[in-house]
């Protein structure tokens, strides 16, 4: 009989923000212990030993699991709130869900997720061949980790789908722990400590002579891990050899306070020493940003000797993301944008921001915009101006139809054309514009089954891995212009050589870096021409662009140019490009547009070409070209709208009626629309008069100032 508490077997987990921790013991009690080590409260919790205890993320509740098979929820004060479940076998491990409203616990060989709501049905699945000993659930990436007596560790998603299963070890897995940012985890076993990527493959293996590692715990910055050993010792481990590559530079964290930067081009090696422990480093856009526990260092790739240094408010940086002009720094308190000379640009914030759970998939930065996905409602994306930290537009965030998994902003081009790529829960990829003025935000679907995506750093090309294919959208904007054109601007390649579940790491210039599922890094190049084309178009050198396309003779490139020139309303280039991709109808249409004397009307026709009649109509009405708007609707067989416009502006009612009449005659049909019947009564259709009126309209257009000749009727191809 054990009457005295045995501390070592219990799991101690510290509650954030408070100086209280819980100690569970084999005599069925748990103890709340203050910072000084004084036991503040002991509570009789279970029959038999209490095997695990954990605080919820918000610190308001505590869950314990015992040998008696019960899982109990306790208030912070130690009062019993509820008994979640009763099982026949001991519960060895428990973990809280990301929102602290679900509990994951083990039940023999099964894993069970149960909501705190009493009537919710639990999710249950068989996890291992042996009894499951430990579980962990990461709040950032929402993945579940389990270790069992069958000597394996496995990674799951929250639906119980297996993402990774390790080969069998020599001894049962006795502990697992995620890093706070969810990028890696450690696995402890007898004399074994293993560091793994979130995809499951292992970075490193250490064989300390310590006996079994019963419990592992990360420091809040995710650089150090502590383990309780079977021989009564505590081991501390540091992560080293973290390596980053950017163009010709390679940065390696060689020890906890030193970084080596190697320039591969000339083999020059720079050794950077720091006073404090390195927490995060990021290398991109010609700058190396290093966050230590107290300061932030910014090195330029041109000068490694004199970094810009500024102090950090709190030495717990969880994420650094870089853009060309500035970078984003996230610690547990908030989100900050700093320029590369170390100046704080702004601090974007919104109601209910939880900076501690942000990761690289839910935050994105570009030169002028910061996008953050909300944690409370995963459909919502907040967009901020990177210069002043204010929310863009009317302060309303972007709301997607479904839960958003990943967001990414494109990196170049003018800020008014900033695009945001969204991957939602169905792994569909959508493209939306960030800055909208007055008009409705258009979100268009680009692809499906997206596993991973990346924008190019120098041009607005988007690469993604989807469903066994590697896809590059050379000009994603084409989706706004012409849905038919989009598939022709896409470069696709079979990705089966990368195995299952590859990850896209970087897309620099024409170089793509992909990480295979077992961890090896594979590079790939794409054609350099689209990037050149982008740069020509960006500087409006259309002749050079056309010359380039002629030189390369690639259909994809011509399609890109067609889309780009159509978007920029560069008619001559568009005509050539459409001709090159054998779109005769569109060439015809463009020739027609070129003949239109009025600029607004041309714009409207371009909008039509891009397949958005609403926009076209809006442009026409705004310019006061009511006749054209009516004709537009007539040509689209949008009779009701045409008549409505005619009646509203009290012109050309007879024109609308006349065309309607003609149309019905052609198909030998009777008029059924009540509206038309109503107006038909009062108006006589006289074709001569109508023709005269139409001629008059064109005459009027021609007479508008600064307009050139010719006013042929614009009949566009129907689409």
């Amino acid at each position: 009989m054990h009457w005295f508490p045995k501390a070592a077997t219990g799991a101690a987990s510290k509650k954030s923000g408070s100086d209280l921790f819980v100690l569970t013991s084999t005599d069925g009690k748990f103890h709340l212990v203050g910072r000084t080590g004084r036991i503040e409260k002991s509570v009789e919790a279970h029959k038999g030993a209490v095997l695990a205890g954990r605080w919820s993320y918000d610190g308001t509740a505590l869950v314990t699991a015992g040998e008696d098979g019960r899982v109990k929820i306790w208030a912070r004060s130690g009062m019993l709130r509820s008994t979640l479940t009763q099982n026949s076998t001991p519960v060895y491990g428990v973990a809280w869900g990301p929102d602290s409203d679900q509990i994951l616990f083990t039940n023999g060989k099964q894993l069970v997720i149960k909501s705190l709501q009493a009537n919710a049905k639990p999710t249950m699945w068989k996890g291992h061949e042996g009894i499951i000993l430990v579980v962990d659930w990461n709040p950032v990436n929402n993945l579940i980790l389990s270790g069992a007596e069958d000597c394996r560790y496995k990674v799951w998603d929250t639906y119980g789908r297996p993402l990774y299963s390790s080969p069998a070890h020599d001894y049962p897995v006795t502990s697992v722990a995620w890093t706070p940012d969810g990028e890696m985890f450690v696995v402890g076993s007898f004399n074994t400590l293993r560091l793994c990527d979130k995809a499951g493959w292992s970075y490193a293996l250490e064989k300390p002579n310590t006996g079994s590692l019963f419990k592992l715990s990360w420091s809040s910055d995710g650089t150090q891990v502590a383990g309780a050993c079977g021989n009564g010792q505590v081991v501390f481990a540091n992560i080293i050899e973290r390596r980053l590559e950017w163009n010709n530079f390679e940065a390696t964290v060689v020890s906890s306070k030193q970084i080596h930067v190697k320039n591969v081009m000339n083999e020059a090696l720079e050794k950077l020493d720091f006073r404090d422990r390195i927490i995060k480093i990021s290398l991109s856009f010609g700058h190396l940003v290093v966050a230590t526990s107290s300061q932030c260092y910014i090195y330029s790739s041109r000068n490694w000797n004199t970094p810009m240094i500024f102090d950090l408010k709190e030495g717990n940086v969880t994420l650094i993301q870089q853009a060309e002009k500035h970078f984003l720094l996230i610690d547990s308190n908030g989100v900050y944008v700093y320029s590369y000379d170390g100046r704080l640009v702004c601090t974007p914030r919104y109601q209910g921001l939880r900076a501690d759970v942000l990761n690289s998939q839910t935050v994105s930065i570009s030169n002028d915009t910061v996008a953050i996905r909300d944690k409370a409602d995963e459909k919502v994306i907040y967009v901020f101006d990177a210069q002043n930290g204010k929310q863009i537009g009317d302060g309303k965030p972007i709301t997607h139809k479904l839960e958003v998994l990943e967001i990414a902003l494109d990196q170049c081009g003018p800020s008014s054309e900033r695009r945001l790529a969204i991957v939602d829960k169905n792994t569909d990829l959508y493209l939306t514009s960030v800055r909208v003025f007055g008009t409705e935000r258009k979100t268009l679907k680009l692809g499906t089954m997206i596993q991973s995506l990346a924008w190019n750093d120098g041009t607005n090309m988007l690469a993604a891995l989807n469903d066994g294919k590697f896809t590059v959208w050379y000009y994603p904007n084409a989706v706004y212009l012409d849905r038919d054109l989009l598939p022709r601007t896409v470069f696709e390649k079979d990705a089966s050589e990368f195995g299952k579940n590859p990850q896209l790491l970087q897309f620099l210039g024409n170089h793509v870096v992909i990480r295979r599922h077992e961890g090896s890094i594979v590079g790939m190049t794409i054609s350099p021409y689209p990037a050149i084309l982008h740069s020509y178009v960006l500087s409006a050198r259309w002749n050079d662009a056309v010359r380039l396309c002629r030189f390369v003779k690639d259909e994809i490139l011509w399609a890109c140019l067609a889309a780009m020139s159509a978007y920029a309303k560069e008619l001559n280039t568009a005509e050539i490009a459409y001709a090159a991709i054998k779109e005769a109808d569109k060439v015809q249409f463009i020739i027609n547009i070129k003949d239109i004397p009025v600029k607004e009307a041309r714009n409207a026709e371009m909008a039509l070409l891009c397949g958005s009649p609403q926009d076209a109509e809006a442009i026409l009405l705004q310019a006061g070209l009511i006749f054209r708007a009516i004709m537009l609707n007539i040509q689209l067989y949008n009779w009701d709208r045409a008549l409505e416009l005619a009646v509203k502006h009290k012109t050309h009612v007879d024109t609308a009626l006349g065309y309607r009449h003609k149309y019905l005659d052609k198909f030998d049909k009777k008029e059924t629309s009540k509206k038309f019947l109503q107006f038909q009564e009062g108006i006589e259709i006289d074709w001569e008069k109508i023709e005269a009126k139409i001629q008059m309209e064109y005459q009027k257009e021609r007479e508008r100032p600064a307009m050139s000749t010719a006013g042929t009727q614009s009949a566009g191809p129907r689409r």
Partner: protein, 132 residues
């Protein structure tokens, strides 16, 4: 005659003509016995010392044997445990080797990818030059 009388009275004369109460023979025998007894006692004493040393020696030997025995058992156990230790060590090293192998495999794949990329780039450059 006189001797006999004296002898009857219990008096005797020895060779040195000293008067004695005991018969000279018996006296001689007694003396001899005494000598013998003394001898015997001496011998017994010797024996005791010899046996004492012997016991001591045997004891020492026993202790020595015991010690050696323990040593033997210890080393035998050690031997056993060393094989086990070796096994464990081997296992550990094996695990490390597998780990390294995996790492190597990863690097090999990366290297191959880089080679492929290089050849692609070269091809591209050649093509580019040819086109001009």
């Amino acid at each position: 005659m006189a001797d006999e009388t004296l002898a009857r009275a219990g008096l005797h004369f020895d060779e040195l003509n000293k008067i004695r109460v005991l018969e000279p023979e018996i006296s001689q025998q007694t003396g001899e016995l005494k000598e013998e007894c003394k001898d015997f006692v001496d011998k017994i004493g010797d024996f005791q010392t010899i046996v004492g040393t012997f016991i001591e020696v045997v004891d020492n030997v026993a202790k020595e044997v015991e010690k050696e025995k323990m040593k033997a058992i210890g080393s035998r156990n050690l031997l056993k445990s060393i094989t086990k230790q070796r096994e464990a060590q081997q296992q550990q090293l094996q695990a490390l080797i597998t780990e390294r192998k995996m790492q190597q495999e990863r690097l090999r794949i990366q290297y191959e990818a880089l080679l492929k990329e290089e050849s692609e780039q070269n091809e591209f450059i050649e093509q580019f030059i040819l086109q001009k």
